[in-house]
Symmetry: C2
Amino acid sequence: MKASHIETGETSKISGPAAGINRGIAVLDVILRLVAIASTLASAVVMATSDQQLQFFTQVAIFNVEYGDFSTLRYFVVINSIACAYFALSIPLAIMHIARSAAKQSRALLIIMDMVTLGLLMSAASAAAAILFLAHNGNNSANWNSICNQFTDFCHRASASLIGSFAAIVILLLLIFMSTAALARS
Amino acid sequence: MKASHIETGETSKISGPAAGINRGIAVLDVILRLVAIASTLASAVVMATSDQQLQFFTQVAIFNVEYGDFSTLRYFVVINSIACAYFALSIPLAIMHIARSAAKQSRALLIIMDMVTLGLLMSAASAAAAILFLAHNGNNSANWNSICNQFTDFCHRASASLIGSFAAIVILLLLIFMSTAALARS
């Protein structure tokens, strides 16, 4: 395993309470990553299944709106899927930190990868929120009308899917905070 | 000074090449923060001054569009101003790291504050980008028309203001990467 190779020669320089705290943080780290997998997966699935068809029988036209009509919402689904996969892949490294509480390089690696994921999730969730805000409220200056009066179901599902994404963002902030504290202590 | 108090008792545990590298990183850190101040300030100013008036003499109506019409773009200006102030305030701490290359707690503090700023800037820039993408391309499903055909100047200025914000994001990623590497090394 590459990660264990990186840590070769880094025997535990800390012991006693500090090592115990770092081990506790490592366990919490793994649990939070499991929660983040669930929340990003839920976000991606709920958004990807949000569509709604309106049929007006007075006309021949069928109006349909789905997440795929908005490139921003497609981006949201893609980024949440990537984040979900990343959380799953990062768990082995997080588990390794339970055993090796003094690991430095691998912890720094995890902080940087977490940070990149945070940036991606933040951009996807904020862009989707901006679009859904427009869908709810419209904009008079641009003459864009609210579509949520007609497509209520679509708007509800799409807005609900943001929750999982923002939950994962909060978890990532916590994870980076904990890892940085552990790195400063080791 | 609070920061120097935090570091009390932390004498330089590293010496030679590692200390030299950390000192070099600390100097680069300060320079990058100065660049980030300029780019976020430019973003905020360019966005805040983007407005355009269209006069149709065939009608009495005067059409006007400005950044303040879009709450997302107002948010963009506020966040860029906050980020600019943060970069300015963080410089003293960054300068301290030039002298104290083994500082750990204050470096960890800077990583966490940089990360929060990264999250805020990422959300503001992405949300603004999503809205400007709509302004450029419109959306058929929602029946939102492109407004950039009429408000060309507004769209150009607002889109240009994104550059400074994304430049600051790249700088923040670099800063966090360098600080984390320095923390793992010290």
